[in-house]
Symmetry: C2
Subunit: 348 residues, 2 copies
Amino acid sequence: MVTLKELAQMCGVSTSTISNILNGKPKVSEETRLRILEIVKQSGYQPNYFAQGMRMQKTRMIGIIVEDLNEFSTSPIVEAIMAYCEEKNYRAILLNMRLYDKWQDTWYDDESKLQSVLQPAIRELLSIKVDGIMYIAGHCRVINCFPEDFTIPAIVVYAISKAPGFTSVVIDDEKGSYDMTRYLISMGHRKIGLIAGIEDNLHTQKRSLGYQRALFEEQLLFNPDWIRYGNWQRQSGYEETKKLIEEGVTAIFCMNDTMAAGAYDYLYECNIKIGQDISVVGYDNKEISEYLRPNLTTSDLGLPEIGRESARIILSMMEGDCEKRNEHEIVRMPCSIVERASVSNLSE
Amino acid sequence: MVTLKELAQMCGVSTSTISNILNGKPKVSEETRLRILEIVKQSGYQPNYFAQGMRMQKTRMIGIIVEDLNEFSTSPIVEAIMAYCEEKNYRAILLNMRLYDKWQDTWYDDESKLQSVLQPAIRELLSIKVDGIMYIAGHCRVINCFPEDFTIPAIVVYAISKAPGFTSVVIDDEKGSYDMTRYLISMGHRKIGLIAGIEDNLHTQKRSLGYQRALFEEQLLFNPDWIRYGNWQRQSGYEETKKLIEEGVTAIFCMNDTMAAGAYDYLYECNIKIGQDISVVGYDNKEISEYLRPNLTTSDLGLPEIGRESARIILSMMEGDCEKRNEHEIVRMPCSIVERASVSNLSE
DNA sequence: TTGTAAGCGTTATCAA
DNA sequence: TTGATAACGCTTACAA
């Protein structure tokens, strides 16, 4: 691969002249500029990344650390980040901690497990001298990603940074859940069962809050028996639906699509017609929601928007000389209802 | 971040001594070795990646170019590659061309579109001085990825390299399809309809071949009316199923799960009971196959195995001084039937 | 066994 | 307007 020095010899000028031309420095005569540029183009010259990175402090590269690339929410976020980086002429390097792959569900209570892979990942990105680091979580929680005295811009996405000084971008669970509950109410439902996720999970808590607020605003009595805690898995959706049916609810709000599929399983077994005899909604707008029958009404997470917004924020931090780091700002991105066929209109 | 020079001052030795220790060179006294190692550990020293990469020729980094990270087959492959790299102490940098995002389905006939993003991607990885490049396609076809005189090890995954000299790792479509057809025959089916993908697609061709071979071996008459070409989309599965039903087939073999879902749509509409009145199988083992009712029998692609095997091959090329590059070898990885509830047993 | 110094390919500083 | 040179942090051949 041709180097600057070789190029200089070919052109009969010094390396610094070429370097200046290539970097758009003004102190070059137009005449040589054009001549050199032509030769450079023909040579197929590509600057050596290491030499450049070593010399300058900027690399125009951001590091993305993902908890697990196979988590359904991750690739759309990453794809959007990369799209934005491409627009702005940045590169992105992805580090995949593969947390689920390594430890299934056993890691998120275990701070030491996380840190044992996160710290090397961060060190590695630091040694690559990325200009900024994005942490993409697999699900929302308060999380200790970066030390408080971190030297480069960093952001946490789809979770909330414990350390202040880092912006977090998350979905607006409370509003999304509120909207969904209001939607069910607007369809005439008054007895709305809720199949929540794991109880101490942040998504669960926020979405529960949204549910309660909607009921409250509509003056609907809050019945604690109508709130059941699942574990996000299909089977738990099945089981809790059974109990909710006994309670006589007319609509079931599942906090994810997977549990909604479990609800479908039970209702199908009982020959209760979804979208007619009972209504079911989910959350996440996963691909499966279009394959369940009837198609599931659910809440879209706006994953690409999250990715794009996070990228926008961190690039602006990087270019703004990293010093308008809004202290512990939490950006909440809206979810949007996608209406399909699983809700019946009781008010008609 | 602490440098080798600073470390040398702290320890009162030269940089080369420390460098030798860190790189396991033998010409160091045990005494100083231990003393230095301790200080190094405490300092949190991390070698500068650029300096290292500039000095040596190896970076222990491989570049992964994916056609589109959002394609369902891509992340599992990438995840497995990264797992293997981690085991072997390599890093991986991911470049996402986002072909579908940019051009939907309009790019794969258009060599110039592909090259317009692929060439910069390759140049970029080259300038980063990766030790090897893996190209991960979104679907199988013969593809012009790398120039014949490419200087570093490279491999194409989930597609077949046009240029000889590059190993390709693909799924064994023909065998997978053959197995599936044999399976249907073993369940007593004699009239087996096939909903193929787009006609000039490689998956389509290979799977058609497998289907034919199975019929032939069982001395079943091949009926061309039972082969219908869809376009991989759900709607085409719906439409072709309609025609196949008119033909009176007892089983429908769809070349992907998405078209199988379309078949389900039509059969549901007609109140034909899948797994009883008719049998349907898919291909891909996408998540949706577990959510269709009844659960879809399909063929698993073994994506993680593909990723792992590709990584194994390229790392061995890299470490074997890049000169046992098997000329144009095509590695075919097996698919495996996952039996669920969409096939009835006619022979009982 | 340890230290010195050259060199990897750039960019920045400063002199010509 | 251009060119010589130092510097970035590391590894390695060679000298001590």
